[in-house]
């Protein structure tokens, strides 16, 4: 039998397609460390034996960069924070609108769902739903720094050489709040925001002498804090809760101007190839018993009704040691980052990094 080129190509294509459907479907998840713990994946694969879960760990900036590099291909579900969806979508078109009918929205804590919807709706399409939330703030070793309570205290000479922070946007925002400003309110006027950033840069550059080192990840922060090399730091709440378990003197301190709250979300990348599996994963991990396993692994609160009660006991203790109801009411949710702000803040951080001291 003679085969023309065309039939050969067609045949090969059919064979490849056949192989694709015979094999298990893969759900490629782009998420944070701890957000896809082994035990949850095992349960999910038990329930859906034809879906393989593949996890890539990342952070906000890298998630956006990775998706931008491929135009939204390579992953089927991603979990950036709620403030990293609107502007990247406008600029790079990397996400797909969600089909809300495929998600059981009744389980969400309504306040958080509405907040995320409001932040991520473009042209009437919703791009994200919440998954877990937590805060950024301060932590201090109460036995060595009992009066530590505001962002500004990181620069307090009393703790010279004994504090740390991460050189990312959180500290810019926190410092702006501690100077009596509201950075999110000035987001709408970029010139005013630049003026505010300049003041923050000046303050943080002068403060450099007070800092021991900038931390880069949870591990080096934990090591510095547990060894007593530093007594206080800017931190993610989950890191502080973990340390509380090892040393009850180390507590999360919501700054007096309010801790900064973030919500990590679910988004589907523009060229995701396993939408059904992605929706299955979303609905699956929001179930109460899975949420509990999730909180155990991440130290964050799942955005479902009664999410706080699903925290494991040791985390509940840490949260209660850190937050009063007043602190919870004082939370400042990260506002949407408008296009261009990312660049301004990046430049501000570069200036601080390059500053030679106060």
């Amino acid at each position: 039998m003679r085969m023309t080129m065309k039939t050969a190509v067609l045949l090969t294509a059919t064979m490849l397609a056949g192989m694709g459907s015979a094999q298990a479907e893969t759900l490629r998840l782009l998420t944070w460390g701890g957000y896809a713990p082994e035990n949850v994946i095992a349960k999910f694969e038990e329930m859906y034996p034809d879906i393989d879960v593949e996890v890539t760990l990342s952070n906000n900036e890298e998630m956006v960069a990775k998706l931008r590099a491929t135009g939204g291909a390579g992953f089927d579900l991603a979990q950036p924070s709620h403030d990293r969806i609107y502007a990247p979508q406008l600029e790079y078109d990397i996400y797909k609108p969600l089909d809300m009918s495929k998600i059981d929205t009744s389980v969400f804590e309504p306040k958080l769902l509405d907040g995320v919807k409001a932040n991520t709706t473009i042209d009437g399409e919703i791009y994200a739903v919440p998954h877990q939330w937590g805060t950024s703030g301060l932590m201090a070793d109460k036995s060595k720094a009992p009066d530590f309570k505001s962002w500004g205290d990181l620069c307090n000479p009393e703790y010279k050489g004994k504090t740390s922070m991460r050189l990312k946007r959180t500290i810019l925002l926190g410092t702006a709040y501690s100077m009596g400003e509201d950075p999110f309110a000035t987001y709408s006027d970029l010139d005013a925001y630049q003026a505010l950033l300049d003041k923050v840069v000046e303050k943080l550059s002068a403060c450099k002498d007070n800092i021991k080192a900038y931390w880069k990840g949870g591990d080096d922060l934990s090591a510095m804090m547990l060894s007593g090399e530093i007594v206080a730091s800017e931190t993610w709440d989950s890191t502080a809760y973990k340390l509380y378990n090892e040393n009850n003197n180390i507590v999360f301190v919501p700054p007096e101007t309010g801790a900064l709250a973030w919500i990590d979300t679910f988004v589907i990348p523009r060229k995701g190839e396993a939408d059904d599996a992605a929706y299955k994963w979303i609905n699956f991990v929001l179930q109460p018993e899975i949420s509990q396993m999730m909180s155990e692994s991440t130290g964050a609160i799942v955005a479902v009704k009664g999410g706080k009660d699903l925290l494991p006991d040791h985390l509940k203790a840490a949260v209660n040691a850190a937050f009063t109801d007043e602190d919870i009411n004082n939370l400042k949710f990260f506002a949407n980052i408008p296009p261009g702000v990312e660049d301004m803040e990046g430049k501000a951080l570069e200036k601080i990094q390059a500053a030679t001291g106060g």
């Binding site: 800092i211 021991k212 880069k216 660049d343 990046g346 200036k351 990094q353």
Partner: protein, 289 residues
Amino acid sequence: MNQRDARRLSLILLFMPFALWILLLILLPHIGMGVLSLREKIAPRQYEFGFDNYIEFFTEPIYWHIMARTAIMSLIVTALALVIGFPVSYYIAKIAGPRTRGAMFMFCLIPLWVSDLIRAFGWILLLRETGVISGVLQWTGLISEPIELLYNDAAVIVGLVYTVMLFMIVPLTSTMDGMDDSMIEAGYNLGGNGLTVLRRIIIPYAMPGIISGSIIVFMLTAGSYLTPVLLGGKYSSWFTQTIYDQFITRYNWESGAAFGFLLLIFTSLVVWIGLKLSGQSLSSTVARS
């Protein structure tokens, strides 16, 4: 006729992986980066052709400060690697017997079996305030307070020298290996002392090895990312970190690409100056070893 065709085919096949590698992994990405670096961002999803990204580097002092810092630190690392690596190579090439030689090469190689990250963490454990060295010094009573050795430029230099040492030792050893022992003997017989022999005979002979080792080490150091980031402190910035920040934190791929090119051009320039000053050429150094 057929035989010539076959020979030509085998040549093409042998050459193909190399050609593909150069084309797909070096040339194409660089062209892409070049195009990217010449785009100016006007508004979301709107770009224009222009040199703004390059101009920004020269008008904003922090960028070329960091570049200069990176270059100076890399030169220091290169010099240290040479000073430490030279005696070691000389010992391996000229003094050690064949069996010791293999063992010594092995010792130089072992650190490379461990990943960069693990090596950096090793240094962190040793150097930190509550780390091994500080602890030992306190235990022996040499110091009374814990001492912080991490998070400064010295830590970065130590970490980098450790990482690149092998790349200095290998070309040096292979060059000196080819030197006839009788040349050194002749030097002594003619009344030279150790220093003169080193200065007039050994170093000139080893020059191609010195230069090629220095070029490799300098390029590796200037382009390293992990070690400076992990060991460096609040005042240490490395240019690769700036490039990373452009790409990732600022979402500014255009200027990141421009900075990447500037780093390439700048390091090439330093290498070229080094070659001119030492009177060597690329073909007599890197290509030879």
